[in-house]
Amino acid sequence: MKVKLLTPEQKQKLVGQQHSPNSYFNTDLVDADGNYIMAIETALNCTNNNFIWVKDLPEIEYKPIIISNDPEI
């Protein structure tokens, strides 16, 4: 599975911003390597003209952080 890759600067620009009506970017998401990432569908479904550039972000393999047991959520 692939995800979009963000630089720290790009991630910062998305904090508190909507990608479509009633929906905000999740700017807290990092992968197992510490990269800021975004789901491809979130990027492709972005309708906010100020952030259409997220559609053109590079894609990398999704490497989620794995926790073997339930944490203290």
């Binding site: 929906s23 926790i67 073997s68 339930d70 944490p71 203290e72 959520i73």
Partner: protein, 262 residues
């Protein structure tokens, strides 16, 4: 939403006296366009009021209408405002007429309801109706935050346990075979709380040690994002076993009327 130049609220009050005022407010805010949805939503509202469950709730989200704009509203207070505990969506949540589900990568929601400031120690309940049978670790269906003590419901983890805690740091686990139906918990005493899967009750001895003070309640994640579909959310004061059974029956009837029961 307008109908012949008038809001549905006014139209219903004038022409449909059996429609409840609170239901009309929600229908207006959520712009429910399907007639059967409006009738079913009205029945849900009346059932909750007649049984006095209504007065126990801070948030009742009926997850109806199939759109983010209709799924965000709190039936108890359908103002388009965070102080009304409307949902705020992050990442990708897929909204359909059967409910709403995260994409498993970056989607989640917050209720804008803070347990610490709104809820009372030893008097709280949280329920969520799930339509996806899926085992997964670390993905809470509804939770306060990553900082204990707090409240968390994970319907079915990777080892087929319904794990939860309620105003405590101690997590309890009980075996389940699926993650379908109304999952939740209620605390009415300092010494124990009760977990529920539909009408199955698990009494758990765990002394309350405090409330979460860090964040809003929501479908949150520490590392894994939840993608079980949700079709009803309740956050309220504590409920008794009898009240939980009433709530389950009302919610299951509601889901059946919408043709999305599990």
């Amino acid at each position: 939403m307008e109908f012949n130049g008038r809001s549905y609220y006014l139209v219903m009050l004038i022409y449909l006296p059996n429609f409840n005022k609170q239901a009309c407010n929600f229908i207006d805010a959520a712009a429910l366009s399907v007639e059967s949805d409006r009738i079913i939503l009205n029945e849900l509202t009346k059932s909750l009021i007649i049984t006095n469950l209504w007065d126990l709730a801070y948030l009742i989200n009926p997850v109806i209408g199939g759109l983010a704009n209709s799924h965000k509203y709190n039936l108890k207070d359908p103002r388009d405002d965070d102080t009304a505990y409307r949902l705020t969506f992050y990442g990708t949540i897929n909204h359909t007429t059967t409910g709403m589900a995260g994409n498993g990568i970056d989607g989640y929601y917050l209720t804008n309801l803070n347990e610490d400031s709104i809820m009372t120690l030893n008097d709280m309940s949280v329920f969520v109706y799930l339509r996806t049978n899926l085992a997964m670790n670390t993905a809470a269906d509804i939770t306060t935050a990553a900082v204990a003590p707090g409240t968390t419901v994970i319907s079915r983890n990777a080892t087929n346990n319904f794990t939860a805690r309620c105003q405590t740091s101690t997590t309890s686990s009980d075996g389940v075979s699926d993650s379908l139906g109304l999952f939740g918990l209620s605390r009415l005493a300092a010494a124990n709380y009760k977990k529920y899967k539909n009408t199955t009750e698990f009494n758990r001895v765990a002394t309350s040690t405090g409330k979460s003070n860090s964040a809003f309640i929501g479908m949150r994640a520490s590392s894994t994002y939840n993608n079980r579909e949700q079709a009803f959310i309740w956050i309220g004061k504590g409920v008794t076993t009898a009240q939980q059974a009433l709530l389950y029956n009302i919610v299951q009837t509601y889901q059946t009327q919408l043709g999305r029961q599990v």
